[in-house]
Symmetry: C2
Subunit: 348 residues, 2 copies
């Protein structure tokens, strides 16, 4: 018998995107917000006291829950906080799935889902999207205890309508987890579903729309019965005092948040248009990145050439994505640097 | 089929100690350090930039790993960070245990171990300590994939010698996890064991000795092969930028740390002596709390009376602890308040 469980020995773990610290890098690879978080966040950090550091945090992070509840039009009891959406995904897998209770999701999608299934020793039922990334009908017919839809989807940027999600929630027997990490950049979200469905769990992130990837903060929205079960699985003091204060300050500053979102949406339209002019196929994106393909060139080659020029984008060598690049929407200046370099790299 | 796994439905979750926010409470219930963290921590927090908040953290928390490695005389590859010791315990259970791979530990001990076993659907083999809290011989003979020894033990304050731990590591087939959350207040630790044993995993906390319960930071020490397996189980960005900076600043300030530890040890001896004079039985403690029993009075009753006077201690209504109180070592002033009130509460 080895020290580790067999499924852990065989697991590969998740590989995050490169995180270089050199300032000169144009970093369009991990979907960080190109703009800083609300100034209220630094203000709050400067007011943290030794006494707050010395004491255990509020186990339920009520300051954040109350703010997030108000903004989402739900009760605080419908909210649970985590160290990023990733911790909440991990908790969901542990709560709902095991070797007899599979998870299902449409692919290609966020590769962490398959990694978590492996770590949890549960079967992952992967159903392929069609070419237009429509929700596969088969997804509602699996025996999954947990069905995950990343919406908007990463790395495709595509979105499933609220109406389709209602049908899915209604048809499946298990839990529907809607991973809304990128929903701040879309026109609609699925919060309303939790009013009618006790099997719907929505996950949000403060890393993308709110520019707070560094503090690792996310939250779940669901009916209190589902939240209560998930609360048993989380560590009692899972999120810390400083992150709670920072996340609460950011979510309360909706004016600043909305202004940044609009800037990114505008740049997304511009970048999409410009990439198309360079010969790329770019599906309409509802997130803060685009998925671009140029039939004349290998994605891996473009990736390498950009890397040599200190421009980082993301390349996933997996089925369906072999010739595509995922490019985070940067500032206007960053997007120009990318476009100018692509013009030089791609022969005419 | 319910939404949740059966073991999760049946689990109770962990109940943390009360966390009141009123300043007038004498809080001796959750083993927080009574002294603030190193001033270097607030200094570092004041220097956090928007750019650091906007970007994902360093996945490996190398700044902290390097500092902790130097202080513990090991290589950085022997260190892994987590959101408190609790997250590292959770990761260990997920890595080593399942329904065919039990966990074992001596009781009474930190009640989270049994909670995590339940959440992980693995059998918990509980072996009782004797009256003097010596390591039970039976612990080395279980079929456990993971054997946990809390050392110093909570809530007893007792310690198992390094020599005994060497024997245990040698005798068992699985992994030996030494939970050293309270080791900063003891004379010795088990770091040396990782040089000879590839099955030893040590867990440390920044919450107690370093006064940083609010930032949720802990770390594991083990041979790189064990660390590499555990790294696959953790979220890729599990600890955040602000906590990494704060924890690194605190661990680098060893002078401040040692001075606070000495103060607490001195108060521990004084409190032990004074409680004994009040008729309590108080075993020698190697942690920042004492376990006190007064055969003339019910612990639950003393607990309630202290609570009415805004003095919080911990009472665990479980076998072996029904008539004992766990009391955190406070400042000299806090300990005096406790003692003065006990004198009033206990009839003469």
């Amino acid at each position: 018998m080895g020290y580790f469980r067999k499924n852990i020995e065989q697991a590969e773990g998740y590989t995050p995107g490169l995180q270089p610290h050199r300032a000169e890098v144009t970093k369009l690879n991990t979907n960080e917000n190109p703009y800083p978080p609300s100034p209220a966040v630094l203000e709050v950090l400067s007011q943290i006291t030794s006494e707050q550091l010395r004491r255990y945090p509020d186990p339920n992070a009520d300051e954040f829950r109350q703010a997030a509840a108000r903004i989402n039009g739900v009760e605080p009891g419908c909210i649970m906080c985590g160290n990023g959406g990733d911790e909440l995904l991990k908790i969901a897998l542990q709560a709902f799935c095991d070797n007899k209770r599979p998870v299902s999701f449409a692919v290609p999608t966020y590769t962490l889902y398959a990694v978590l299934a492996k770590l949890n020793n549960c079967k992952a039922i992967e159903v392929a999207f069609d070419k237009e990334f429509n929700l596969p009908a088969k997804l509602s017919a699996t025996p999954a205890a947990l069905t995950i839809v990343c919406n908007p989807n990463a790395p495709t940027g595509s979105i499933v309508s609220r109406e389709e999600m209602v049908c899915l929630a209604d048809e499946i027997k298990g839990v529907l987890l809607v991973d809304e990490a990128y929903v701040d950049f879309a026109q609609d979200n699925c919060t309303e579903l939790i009013k009618d469905f006790k099997n719907v769990l929505i996950i949000r992130s403060m890393s993308k729309g709110y520019g707070l990837a560094g503090i690792r903060f996310g939250y779940a929205i669901a009916q209190p019965s589902l939240i209560a079960g998930l609360m048993k699985v989380k560590d009692s003091y899972n999120v810390n005092t400083v992150s709670i204060a920072a996340a609460a300050a950011a979510i309360k500053d909706q004016k600043y948040f909305r202004r940044n979102i609009e800037k990114t949406k505008k740049e997304r339209e511009r970048l999409t248009e410009q990439l198309r002019q360079l010969g790329f196929t770019v599906p309409k994106s509802h997130a803060n990145f685009v998925l671009a393909e140029n039939s004349g060139y290998k994605a891996a080659e473009i990736y390498d050439k950009l890397l040599q020029r200190d421009i980082l984008v993301r390349f996933f060598p997996v089925p369906g994505l072999e010739n595509k690049l995922r490019i985070t929407i940067g500032t206007s200046r960053q997007n120009d640097i990318l476009l100018d370099n692509l013009k030089e790299i791609l022969p005419h």
